[in-house]
Amino acid sequence: MKGEDGVWSVSQLTALIKARLESDERLVNCWVVGEISNFKHHTSGHMYFTLKDDQARIRAVMFAGRNRNLTFRPEDGMRVICRGSVGVFERDGQYQLYVEEMQPDGIGALYVAFLQLRDRLAAEGLFDPARKRPLPRYPRRIGVVTSPTGAVIRDICATLQRRYPLASVVLAPALVQGPEAAASIEAALQRLAGLQGDERVDVIIVGRGGGSLEELWPFNEERVARAVAGCPVPVVSAVGHETDVTICDFAADKRAPTPTAAAEMVAPDQADLRVALLQMEARARQALRWKLDVAHERLQRAVGSPAWAQPKRWLDLRRQVVDHLEGQARRFGVRRVHIAREQVNRLQERLHRLDVRMPVRRASSILEQRHLRARTLMFQRLTQAKTQWERVAAALEALNPLAVLRRGYSVVYRADTDQVLTSVRQVQPGDPVRIQFADGSVLAKVAGGKEDGYDRTEQARLDL
């Protein structure tokens, strides 16, 4: 690094100084208090100024990215506390303070302590967003750590009574200012966190009203921050006014600007809930209506099928057929149809009770079978009867005397007594007789006659 002849170049020397200064931990992230002079806010956004006290001065720069969030306007003569690191600007051979953060002095040591604790706990990860727990939607019991006599508990209760009276408020009284306050707040948190079973609280609000930094100080103490972060129940911090920020706010799961806002944060508004209930009621009704419509449509499609369009008429038609068959069958003594009919009646009753298509189909097919069987049976009986009748008719035809007459025979009656004459001896000449032919009769008188051989006549009569 050093030149050959033991002589430094300016750059080499400056680089050495720079390395030396910037490696000193005491000069990194240090706190400096002093008065601002030669303040310039450059158009680039960077701030250039000198910090001085009555014996020394140091040049300082605060870059635009850092000074954007300043809560005050620095100006010459203002006493400020700065946090930053010392560095070297080689071009000008200047060492200077690169300011990260700046606060007006006057709050002094407390404020520095606040910032230092905040940074330390942040570095430890106590404020990590990943640690933040969600608040319950419908808290049953809400714990409150605050003064029992302050406005905080009044505001919280009034807000909850209006918005979410379903909850119970469990007040754990605590001192909220003075040297004992931090321990008192910690103990109150622990008492609430220790409630078990039905007494368990779902969420805790830690709060106090506005005040000076000194008055709010207990909420900047480490034990409170740790008690809040370590609380098994989610915690909402509502300390001071909107502009006051405490360590407790960082450690809590949520920060509320005011106690009223904290109460609004931990519980829903019943007005919203009533609207939600109305909407859910409507959604349930609509969902069911839709399902009913779909079911109705399906039923309509099923009922609309031709065989099923008028089930009663369809059945009546078949009953009529059965009745008719029964009437016929009764004449032929077919009892079976009776039984079939009773079965049909029973089936029909069952059909009336059922409203699905399958049983109807099944019943109708059974009905169809019975119908078919009854008909077959009837035809059999009819055929039998017909054959029988034809046989009898043929026999009768054979015996019919008229048939004999048609072949040329005739019957002779005595005209006066209508007695059939079977012998010549039954008449004398001159007796009136009636001769019956197949197609009519004539009247005649016996003119005369003779008897055939006795024996033959007798024989012939016997043959007949």
Partner: protein
């Protein structure tokens, strides 16, 4: 069907059940006869939640300043 008027039902459980039922009712696969049952239950639940809101009175209770078994060292004099 669960009966929402049991004493151990809270507003939260009722609301959660209600939301669950609505989701199920709105799903296509729920058969009609079950949908009717669920609908009836949803009406019960809505009525139950509304009654709870209507009857609610904020309850406030206060824990003792220091519990008897407290391991916390008593703060001298500072009981305000």
């Amino acid at each position: 069907m669960t009966e929402p008027n049991k004493p151990d039902w809270t507003f939260e459980t009722a609301m959660k059940r209600l939301e669950e039922i609505i989701r199920r009712l709105e799903s296509a696969e729920l058969p009609l006869h079950e949908a009717i049952e669920q609908y009836k239950e949803s009406l019960h639940l809505v009525r139950f939640c509304r009654e709870m809101l209507d009857k609610a009175e904020l309850e406030i209770e206060q824990l003792l300043q220091e519990p008897p078994q407290a391991a916390v060292s008593a703060q001298p004099g500072e009981e305000a």
